[in-house]
Symmetry: C2
Subunit: 331 residues, 2 copies
DNA sequence: GCCTCCTATGTAACAGATTACATAATATTT
DNA sequence: AAATATTATGTAATCTGTTACATAGGAGGC
């Protein structure tokens, strides 16, 4: 495989000149430039970026860590990240962590070992102290899920008011026995959505009922299970708010299997507006996050951190929207 | 940021010794090793892999190119790729090409520029000549979709017999007016699934009807559209075989909206067995590919190419399975 | 006691690019 | 015409870690 020296020799110039041509320096005469380009073509030369990156101590590569790349929610976020990255000459390395701290660490080593210039964390399983240390030494941006006060920037939505709005919508439909399907974890989205649910009930003078809270793990099956538990209650719910679309869809499937009609017997609201939400039958009412923009802005903030234009951590919240579909309102 | 020289100085040894410790060479005395490890810890030293990779001309990184990382079909394949890669000390860089030749080229430049040691192509949009050239110069494995005769290894399934089996299943249910929802593209899976469909009809002495073939683009909406077109026919189909689950699900949604029952009025079979296939209502009968194994084996073959243990291109076919669910058989 | 072998360690070349600095050639100013 | 500025190019240091080769010191054999 040809290297810069061979190109230089063939073009009858020094390696410096070849490098200048490669980097579009205007300190090269037109005639020389053409000779060099010809040599590059003839040798089918591709510069070895390991050499370049080593010299520059930059890779123009960023990591995007998430539990699962194929999670339909993150799909759009990733698209935003990539579009902004590419526009700025950066590549994105997508990383499945499977929510496994070991895997997450392994990927962060790529950052520490200088194979990437920065990282975007989505639903990281890192602790606050670890994150603080990481953010002090490397460019880091949290996206969607975040830890407050670790000195790391984040871009997210106001999960509290989004959940509040979703439950308010059910209340406005005249429903009062509203169940919650949530998860047992420490994500800020979980905590805030639960709080929003409670506050909406409280503001409507609906008494909070412990029995109406069931737990899942974001999976379809766990949504079905939670719904069945709710149906086994003496006083069954007339509405369900699930903190993720997949669990909401699982709940609907279980409801239908048990002979309940959605939305007539039980109305269901999800969260995230993944693409399947609108495909399902009935189409799912859900909270739509500006997924693409979340990705774009997270990447923009990361770029600023990388290029040193930003010292202080940013806290950015984007707007959300309640999308009303068949699972709560019969047309 | 500390480098190997500072570690060496602090430990009172040469850089070579530090390097030996880093690479677990057994040519280091226990006492020295401990001194070096102590210095590494104290300086919070992380070796710069750009230096190492440059010297070794290896990155232990492979690319996995696919139209869309979030496509639920590829999700499992990717998992297989990653598991095998990690087990062998490699990292995987997932790349969304959006089926855009430019994007694909940009990612392949990472290979040519030595930032990756090899590539796995899923549903590449490259032409045969390009692929031939690529495979001649770099380790390449095609996974799922492939081009025959380009001198590049591939791992896939027998799409012809899978489609044949799917349609045969419909015929065995006594259905004879069987429609096909396919795509207008040149993928081998598309061509072979169409051929399998035709052969199954032919073997059952069912006359082929041009009107029963409709085209989509793998999207949910295109599946709905195709189903509506089929329903507008004089002689409506009693069964639909779609070459992708998403289009099959779209078709079911449209059928239900038009008041048709699935499977009573129209039976539907998909292809791929994405996770949503079993979540849908009705759960979708579909062809299951060994997605995880496809990924594993593709990666194993790629590793052999990278490590030079394999010169000749491999052609590997794995087993598939027809999974019968509610969309064709009422329980 | 001398020679050989082995182990532990060090020195320096090397991977492939970029770039500060030096220099030569040419153009411009005075 | 001399002095200065500008442009084009080259030389060599540099980025960081790996590794071939050299070397020192000790063990063991004769």
């Amino acid at each position: 495989m040809a290297n810069i020296r061979e190109v230089a020799k063939r073009a009858g110039v020094s390696v410096a000149t070849v490098s200048r041509v490669l980097n579009n320096s205007d300190l090269v005469s037109e005639e020389t430039r053409e000779r060099v380009l010809k040599a590059i073509k003839e040798l089918n030369y591709h510069p070895n970026l390991l050499g370049r990156n080593l010299r520059r101590l930059k890779t123009k590569m960023v990591l995007a860590l998430m539990p699962n790349v194929s999670n339909p929610f993150y799909a759009r976020v990733v698209k935003g990240i990539e579009d902004v990255a590419h526009k700025n000459g950066y590549n994105v390395m997508l990383c499945n962590t499977d929510s496994d701290p070991e895997r997450e660490k392994a990927y962060l080593d790529l950052l520490k070992n200088k194979l990437a210039d920065g990282v975007i964390l989505m639903a990281s399983v890192m602790g606050k102290d670890e994150l603080t240390l990481l953010a002090k030494n490397y460019p880091v941006v949290q996206c969607c899920e975040y830890i407050e006060g670790a000195g790391a920037s984040y871009v997210s939505i106001d999960n509290f008011s989004a959940a509040y709005k979703a439950v308010k919508h059910l209340i406005n439909l005249g429903l009062r026995r509203i169940a919650l399907i949530t998860c047992k974890n420490d994500f800020i989205s979980t905590r805030q959505r639960e709080t929003g649910y409670r506050k909406a009930l409280e503001d409507a003078n609906i008494e909070f009922d412990e029995n109406l809270i069931k737990y899942g793990d974001y999976s379809f099956k766990s949504g079905m299970r939670a719904a069945r538990q709710l149906l086994s209650l003496e006083e069954k719910p007339t509405a369900i708010f699930a903190i993720s679309d997949i669990m909401a869809i699982g709940a609907i499937k279980a409801l239908k299997e048990e002979g309940f009609k959605v939305p007539e017997d039980v109305a269901v609201v999800g969260f995230d507006d993944i693409s399947f939400a609108s495909m399902y039958d009935p189409a799912l009412t859900t909270v739509s996050q500006p997924k693409y923009d979340l990705g774009c802005i997270a990447m923009e903030v990361l770029l600023k951190h990388i290029e040193g234009e930003l010292e202080d951590p940013q806290r950015i919240f984007l707007e959300h929207e309640l999308v009303i579909r068949e699972s709560t309102v019969k047309y």
